[in-house]
Subunit: 230 residues, 2 copies
DNA sequence: ATATTTATGTTAAAACTATCACAAACGGGG
DNA sequence: CCCCGTTTGTGATAGTTTTAACATAAATAT
């Protein structure tokens, strides 16, 4: 089952770091920095230089001995790898609290991610606009997605509605779902799902805040806490 | 420098799964399920039964051979580990698009995370309320945090303001910062920072959507892409 | 030209995670 | 009370990710 190097799957750990490289290189580019070494990147990003070289080598030989990496070239390559060289059309489903915040945010379109339509089930919202983007009734979603060649659907609906909508749009030309509901959605197709589970993030923060007390508790007990069910 | 077992640091990978266990057990509890085996949890969560047992063993011996885990007990224990047995006071900094969405969300308080004050620099917002929570001027933030024994600060301000505010509140009784700005903030103290980098999440989604094309490109080249800087 | 410095790509080792496998403990039924 | 099926906790194993080391190549200085 050994695969040749070229087709070896890139690990999730590496992929998660790519946006950091992208951001960092964009900053360097803005500062008119022409070249950068893994060493310098290491200083900025806090990853080891070795890791940076290995990460980049998953995708190609972008550097040169004695010179380092050309900032502009590397930025372009990483953009391509992340699929940022072409722009993306998105739809937003759910124009509630979170949906409206996302619709009003300008930071996505600066990277080529544009919301082209918004959907809701609330008749009071349908027909309105957010930043010139029309809100349509969710029943028209499949048609509008296909008609406009939309890439990505942002899910910001109540969690009990998430699954149904996900299944619905999985029959369109949608390639990815950006899911803001706490629900773990599963679509049986080649659609990619990226979850933003804010509660998990908050709980992780809480864990770290609580870590000290947790240790104290264990130290007092002098050994593992053991339970019996009655 | 070997540490005894009880004090061995729990790995990040495990911590990230704890909220999943918590959610899952809450669901079981609601369904009045009394006991559960690692096997059954495995079915629900998609982790291996072995991993689940090892994860839980980082914190104690919560199960019993031949019986499994008592849902209610395990839920309580995981809640304690995550620091959810006591309620948390939070402040929100930045009452813009995202800030308002977060302030209006009820899902945090159901887990004991309550926003007790909101801060902004915009005089038009100061004095108003969101869901009965007053918006104060950000210059009063240190006083109000300390006065109310606030745990957590939510950062939803423009990114160029993030660092300054972070430094300011790091001198209060704040224990954790939940950072929604793209800025990587560093506070030189024992304050925990949890980042929600939405752009990174979107880029990761984009990567996966683009993955197919990326492979094609590599296959056509028949080997790694190699660059020279001139 | 040639030597020296810089810095990559890559191989090897170390550290970290996940899975396997099984003895030991418990529950329940006869 | 004892047997048998269940299921944990754990030590061993396998797999993954990170870090270290270095041969090699380009750039720069001499
Ligand atoms: N607001 C937050 O800060 C926040 C934080 C974490 C998670 N979330 C999650 O994000 C999701 C949205 O949160 P929110 O606060 O914006 O909720 P919300 O109730 O304010 O908005 C939900 C919107 O979805 C619309 N809707 C309902 N059913 C629909 C359907 N079938 N099709 C299309 N639209 C439909 C509603 O009309 C409403 O406008 C929820 O799942 C929530 O759990 C929100
Ligand atoms: N809205 C989104 O969907 C979204 C998505 C990703 C990231 N973000 C990030 O979240 C942050 C907030 O985004 P937003 O869309 O809500 O922006 P916004 O401009 O709507 O809101 C920012 C708010 O912060 C206030 N503010 C400015 N300076 C302040 C200061 N010194 N102290 C206190 N308050 C101050 C402003 O008055 C404003 O109300 C930004 O860093 C943004 O990059 C937002």
């Amino acid at each position: 089952m050994e695969q040749p190097d070229e087709f070896k799957k890139v690990s999730m750990a590496v992929i998660k770091r790519l946006p950091k490289y992208h951001q960092c290189l964009l900053n360097l580019l803005k500062d008119n920095v022409e070249r950068v070494s893994s060493q310098k990147l290491s200083k900025i990003l806090g990853f080891t230089a070795s890791q940076i070289r290995q990460d980049l080598n998953n995708f190609g030989e972008f550097g040169q001995q004695g010179y380092g990496y050309n900032v502009s070239q590397l930025y372009t390559e990483i953009s391509k790898i992340l699929g940022l060289n072409t722009s993306h059309k998105m739809v937003l489903v759910g124009a509630g609290n979170l949906g409206q915040a996302l619709a009003n945010y300008t930071g996505f379109s600066t990277h080529g991610f544009n919301i082209v339509a918004i959907f809701d089930s609330n008749p009071k919202l349908v027909g309105r606009k957010i930043k010139d983007i029309s809100i349509y009734h969710v029943e028209d979603i499949e048609y509008i997605i296909n008609e406009n060649d939309v890439d990505i659907a942002i899910l910001a609906v109540p969690q009990d509605k998430a699954e149904k909508i996900a299944i619905k749009i999985s029959k369109t030309c949608i390639r990815g779902i950006w899911n803001f509901t706490p629900k773990e959605i599963t679509v049986n197709s080649d659609i990619v799902v990226e979850n933003v589970h804010l509660i998990d993030s908050l709980f992780t923060l809480s864990y770290h805040i609580n870590e000290g007390k947790l240790q104290e508790r264990l130290i007092k007990q002098k050994r593992k806490i053991s339970l019996t069910h009655r």
